[in-house]
Symmetry: C2
Subunit: 378 residues, 2 copies
Amino acid sequence: MKALEIVKEDRLARLGILKTEHSDVETPVFMPVGTQGTVKATTHKDLKEMGIKIILANAYHLYLRPGDSLIREMGGIHRFSGWDGSVLTDSGGYQIFSLGVLREIKEEGVLFQSHIDGSKHFLSPERIVEVQENIGADISMCLDECVPYPSSYEYTKASVELTSRWAKRCKNAKQDEGKLLFGIVQGGFYKDLRLKSAGDLVDMDFDGYAVGGLSVGEPKSIMWEMVDTVLELLPREKPRYLMGLGFPEDIVEGVKKGIDMFDCVIPTRHARNGNLFTWNGRINIKNTKYTKDEAPVDEECACYTCRTFSRAYLRHLFVSHELTSYYLNTLHNIFFYADLLKKVREAIYRGVFEAFYNEFKTRWKGGEVQDEYSICNG
Amino acid sequence: MKALEIVKEDRLARLGILKTEHSDVETPVFMPVGTQGTVKATTHKDLKEMGIKIILANAYHLYLRPGDSLIREMGGIHRFSGWDGSVLTDSGGYQIFSLGVLREIKEEGVLFQSHIDGSKHFLSPERIVEVQENIGADISMCLDECVPYPSSYEYTKASVELTSRWAKRCKNAKQDEGKLLFGIVQGGFYKDLRLKSAGDLVDMDFDGYAVGGLSVGEPKSIMWEMVDTVLELLPREKPRYLMGLGFPEDIVEGVKKGIDMFDCVIPTRHARNGNLFTWNGRINIKNTKYTKDEAPVDEECACYTCRTFSRAYLRHLFVSHELTSYYLNTLHNIFFYADLLKKVREAIYRGVFEAFYNEFKTRWKGGEVQDEYSICNG
């Protein structure tokens, strides 16, 4: 099954259609994060209204609660959650290393403790594929080891080799032919190890390839160097997914290099902290200067929040700790990201992506909140 | 200006139209509580879709934050908040006595400390009317003193007399002729004082009358005795508002006695605690028995939550502390209350309210969570 149909290319940027069991998704696409099966502080109907066709959920979280066997018994994540769009599940590798208490990485798999109740769990590559098939994800990810920055060459090399062996076992364990399985390129911050990892996975012929283990504390220039290195090896005709990024400027950068898929908690998490994205950069709605500001968050934005509410009112809701504030802010930020990707796709279609990219970068710098160094995955 | 047009009567129950500047509201009506200018964990568009035409806001909260002068400067609560339905503001009397740190009740007004930052404030009856006019409420309430249960006869008597003098001053202070001002009947739990209070206020000829100071810890039988006492004196042609109640069974009880308007935090607050209302009583979605329950919260309910999600999924969201849980639960409970009142109005229109009342009471008892003694105002 061919996962990606490339419709148009503009230099390295690509416009495509990602074909999954539940929907055809136009790429480049940003997938909002619905860790526990729901995108925080919003609803499925809002996502549908905004044209969102794919969300990301975390196998790690759903495995722990409510459990993949329960989800399977309830007919899979789509039936269980009422979301009829596509779902990509992260394998849990990253979450085990960042959220759970890691006990041991063994050839057979990973032993860890739950961040919820401290209970001990063992997940093998085979089991993590089964978990994701039980969940019913349209796209599953292989189990991988995500090394911290910095890590030694020796450690990273052994880790890449393990990740490759795990990837092979994941591929062999896959049973549901209607679903897609992506490999995750690791290799820390060593070009040759990134190339080794990418080469191993490409040889295994996955449905798509993710670049993982980035944005974990390294300088941005090094991060993009790794992306460039990996992209040279990845086959043109398959979907490319940059995991866990990022800010809008990271996304346009990734698109420019030929990335098709993105996910990140930034739009949703920032929304809950009052950070709102606009075409002129980012603002924090808590700022006292918005106390009497009758303008919407972004004059150019057509979301419900911007069509209906002033900055002054949104500030009032935020400083009053109203739950409605998190909801309205989240709606806006998700809409902004969806709108950004829509404009990105239009620019590629019209063959003017580079001009779009330059204009975006220039305008973006005007925001009152300059992007801190982005540790999206931190 | 005549505030209420009575369309139909069925024994003591009344079907009417409450005429306010921003909308004509069918009564009996339940007003969701939007303390700080927004109904917690939902949005204006959801309320509109559910047919909600009037919400309650608290003058006390809005006076403290963002301040009535700011709201006035921003064009009033409707323009400021984007809510184009009607708004009734509680005067703040009750909140000062329950939330703020009360410092002194004087003939001139009330001295209190803010629950937010401890700052000291003085509000006179004249000022509280000005606050509500600055907010731009369709319906304002007089400043009143709400006495605790139990209170001595002497204290309650002096308090009723003060509340009557304050009511007179509120009436004199009112400037905006397009808006309505309601008196609040107090008198604690002494029939003669309730009659004295009602008599005083009726003589002042308010646009409508509220029964206040109930559900503060007294037995329910005594509460309804006070309601019965007061209702005998209130003019038939004016709206009657039972403040701060209550559970669905309290509402049908009040309607039966001739009450037109209700408000209470119960549907919204209970939603955030996982308590969901159904036509067969109340359930708590956290209950483990819902872990695999594929049924909606209520088979008869047409709300978005019930149309889309199973109890199993809603339980998962609740135990996972997802903000979306509070939102979906709130939607359901508000819809349930709106639907209840709609059915109440239909029954009155068809002259079968008593049969409706009896059937409702019978079914309601089937709920897994029996209503605790209702201290709605506590």
